[in-house]
Symmetry: D2
Subunit: 256 residues, 4 copies
């Protein structure tokens, strides 16, 4: 007896192509935006207009931050292997791990671990206080930013859009409360960073927690294509390589 691999995603017959149970050509192409489609593919439900707006705001917030390590990596890989655009993009995405892109996922999971254990009516400030006290000296994901020390401009904007669309759920609520009460516990005031707020928003949108990092990577794919397009017009990768090369000093190995 053969195994059967089930999927509700793309499927083809000689005369038809379906995607998510829709006729791809007639119902999806020309009618569904790309952010909407990405949400739909991940959840298998069509988002509302408001959900799409908040989701696309998150993607915009994460798409590009200039010459980050991932952008440099994509440009250097394209310099070395211009025959493989897929390799340059993949190499850049591989930097999307715990340190530079991971805050979004870490924050979403951290909030969810709390949210999934509390019951209404919610006193978010009290819950936040207890959470912060339990956390002790451990880092709070999403709290603090090494550049935007007085506030990350993306954070209030994401809260504003979520409010306009009626999408402030428990994760954003708890995160806002952490923003209000943490000075009482930590003795200093830190900004809620944008990457963390993105994680809270994605969790409130019901996207799978295991894949929150994936949405940051989707956003970053668009950004990395932008980096490659700019590299084609105004190359800098070789200059970056040469600046490293010319500042290299050969030293003796540990043991000779």
């Amino acid at each position: 007896m053969a195994d059967l691999y089930e999927t509700a995603l793309g499927a083809s017959t000689p005369d038809t192509i379906t995607l998510l149970g829709q006729d791809l050509a007639r119902d999806v192409m020309g009618n569904v935006g790309f952010g909407e489609l990405a949400f739909w593919l991940a959840t298998q439900r069509l988002p509302t207009t408001g959900e799409t707006r908040l989701f696309e705001a998150v993607l915009a917030a994460l798409a590009d931050h200039g010459f980050t390590p991932t952008a440099i990596v994509t440009r250097l890989t394209y310099l070395s292997a211009p025959d493989s655009v897929q390799g340059a993009l993949a190499a850049g995405l591989l930097g999307g791990g715990s340190r530079f892109l991971g805050v979004t996922e870490d924050c979403g999971r951290f909030l969810h671990d709390v949210v999934s254990t509390v019951e209404p009516p919610f006193d978010w400030d009290a819950i936040a206080l207890e959470t912060l006290r339990r956390q002790g000296k451990a880092r709070i994901p999403g709290l603090g930013h090494h550049v935007h020390k007085n506030g990350d401009p993306r954070t209030p904007r994401l809260f504003q859009i979520a409010e306009e669309e009626g999408l402030v759920g428990p994760h954003l609520s708890l995160f806002a409360a952490i923003g209000r009460v943490h000075p009482q516990v930590l003795g200093k005031t830190l900004p809620l960073n944008g990457a963390g707020t993105c994680g809270a928003a994605l969790a409130d949108l019901g996207l799978p927690l295991e894949l929150l990092r994936g949405f940051a990577l989707l956003a970053r794919t668009a950004g990395l294509i932008g980096q490659l397009a700019e590299e084609l017009r105004n190359p800098v990768a070789n200059q970056i390589f040469l600046s490293v090369d010319s500042n290299t000093r050969s030293v003796a190995p540990l043991e000779e």
Copy 2:
């Protein structure tokens, strides 16, 4: 004197974040869709509504085709290394090369090589005939489909959207002409496939030819996140692995 690396993409100061010369939080987030933003990042110009619609139709056409090799690769990699979503997505994208995702780029480039050498007024059928004759027995990128032998449903839909938006340019025009005249040269009728039509449409949208494969990869990133989300809900990767494993026969090496 220090090197200066210029970029018009993301930039930050302690109080502001800009992207493409815009205030990211105020002007981009909440106002710009994700497909629109991806186009903007690649070209550094804001697309029109019609351009965005055609671009997003192309992305929808390429996002997912079920259990393709790239989808299987992403699922198997996630099975092996569930700690690294970025690795699973990158592995899937690495299959986006010459055979399975390359038609889009090959077709766009093939058409552009012709388009860039002809001058108005254009007699596309005559140009197509000459192109096909010069090509001899070499493969025409975008012509033929191993499943949709009577026509790829995405192709007429893309032409329809391009017409509705006034975006049928020289690449789509030449491709359509190839569709009309190739039986005279080849002695048989083949469909214009969807992936090739996507390449023609992306070239008419003015996107960089070197990166046409990149847009297929962007679309596929959304598809692969959908594959991972489905794998989380209804896993099949281990079953695929076991079906290979249980059908393996150990044979003697070439020389023992």
Copy 3:
């Protein structure tokens, strides 16, 4: 003032190339084996003959296990993108994460966490008993194998080579003790698996714990090249893809 990036690895002048402080052409090429060189690069000290033998035995133990997910991934990626050998190898390596290749690293780290807290004279059986009791119901890395239930043939061979070369250090000693005493704690007898023993041996060789997974990946790179060479002579990737494709069933999405 310029930054200076120091390295003891490769360096060039117009007339010389050095590696690890040696003249590459005269001193390394033709004189140093590849396993020896890999060890030297990682530690910046030349291994003894015995260390090289044990290290290469570990690499042999991990190089290839037939149609594992990583091997299937490399073959499928090469099918999709035959223009990029680097992409096919990279995709396969990306499966080298926590589940399929991670035991080597996990076991090495687990043993090291214990070894670094005890002082001579060592009563390894007592230390192992205490370690296993403290671990409670948590998994012991390196203990058990889903196929080799009566013993992994690589395990006694690695211990034998380490003994022959006088290289049984605290990690292998503790692992052997775990093999002896765990039935008292777990109430059942499990084999010490080969991947875990490799981790213990690599740790005893003084290789950096953060990179134990890297050596498994080096071994696997050789294995994946073997997989690609076999795929070139006797292709199976397309058959694997078709067997998945032909066993696919399209189902309704979660919400329609």
Copy 4:
């Protein structure tokens, strides 16, 4: 009827593990060096001692060249995603494409295209002259080096080892002849570079031409592990990132 996937590589039963038709634990581990094993996996025949020596000399020649783009990429990716050693190594390998690591493969293929069309007795100088004349203004793979303008030290060493081992075959012979006669055709003297000589040597060793780049990548994997080990001891990746970041100038996009 089930498909059968054949392999002569790794295979397991509950009590045995075989590799290349050998008992892995008894016959391979402890007896076969890692370079020897990599050759064996790729060709399914055990190399002679001389073949192993030449092969390992090639791997040593290609393992590391200091802060190349691939090394920088691996270090930056590890900085961003220290949780995924496999991602850092894979990202570095993805730069192993046409420009930085491709010479080895290009040269091997170029020579083979000629070698496969000539018959004994061979007048290599005459064949080389004809080859160079036919090539016209096209680049000769393996000829010239941007740093080692007076000669790449690896080249004479590889020829010496091949001669000592009786392994100078048609590819190395033709390449040497190109080195002798090219000034007559090109009107200037260029060195035979080491990467190209490696390609000629690998081709003479009978390794598959489609995978010559793969052996460069295997060598580089060892080098990249060395880079990561050095990065752990003496980190520079963040400094490289900051030197780019601090030399960045934000400019207006193409169209505002």
